[in-house]
Symmetry: C2
Subunit: 138 residues, 2 copies
DNA sequence: GATCTTATTGCAAGGCCTTGCAGTAGCGCG
DNA sequence: CGCGCTACTGCAAGGCCTTGCAATAAGATC
């Protein structure tokens, strides 16, 4: 980890270590605010701007990716292996991960049309889930 | 317009009138901040919270819809007829509207799978456009 | 381990948006 | 036309995130 930074001429600092350790204990997603709060548990002196800047760096290194939730707030995905988007029901507020089949349909549609490579993990698709849609029409 | 408000027990105020007039002069999209700035041209005393609250109301009435741009910032779409999502290239920053064919692919994929009704206008799909993708691999 | 270079940090200010609350002013009614 | 009800507005505070800048401290070198 440390070497990964040094290899790019970057520095290994206690602040970055804190963020990385917290992320290691996290699976799935965190919002920026949540992450800061968790960092403060380890180091009460954690500063927001440092955390956000560290996240930018980690994203460049490919260690996290960020997307936006239904309300547009930033959300960070830990672990590159689990690239996935989200589905959000505006009525009931439930969230799901977008399943592989649907993901492929989306990615494929854009790739075929103009070679656009979709960053799925960046998306939150908002709408109305099956249950709520049915309830609304009855 | 006025009656539309009264019909719902809502009031017709100068502030709302300003927002609606500005929106009428707008086609396509506006961010909240832009809208406020334009409102201030007509009424220098325009207050942000009032504008945002008015937008909420207009959204309930179906007169505008909001989505989130690539950076998660709010964006309002005027005119229900033009429901469409956006495509954004993270490399070159270009934006396009999502074309009908691709939109159908997305909407269809979710509807078929679980009856989820996608609100397309809410989406900004981020990724890398054909040109940038090609440039990157060369 | 002293020194130097410069990547990072901390801080302050600012932008965008939301929320609670008290005061204001639409508008329906007599 | 005046009155009352209550839907709005304005304001202030706050949350989330970004940015510029000066001070700090990694880490490479001798």
């Amino acid at each position: 980890m440390r070497d990964r930074f040094h290899g790019r001429g970057m520095r290994w600092t206690p602040q970055r270590r804190t963020v990385i350790e917290v992320l290691a204990d996290t699976d799935g997603h965190v919002t920026g605010a949540e992450l800061i709060e968790r960092c403060r548990v380890r180091d009460p002196h954690t500063i927001p701007s440092t955390v956000y800047r560290t996240l930018d760096v980690l994203e460049q290194l490919g260690l996290v990716r960020h997307g936006h939730g239904a309300d547009g707030r930033e959300e960070f995905h830990v672990g590159a292996e689990s690239e996935h988007g989200h589905l959000y029901c505006a009525d009931c507020g439930t969230r799901w991960e977008i399943r592989a089949g649907q993901a492929d349909a989306i990615v494929g549609a854009f790739r075929r049309a103009d070679g656009f490579e979709v960053d799925l993990s960046h998306i939150t698709v908002v709408g109305r889930c099956g249950a709520c849609a049915e309830r609304a029409t009855r």
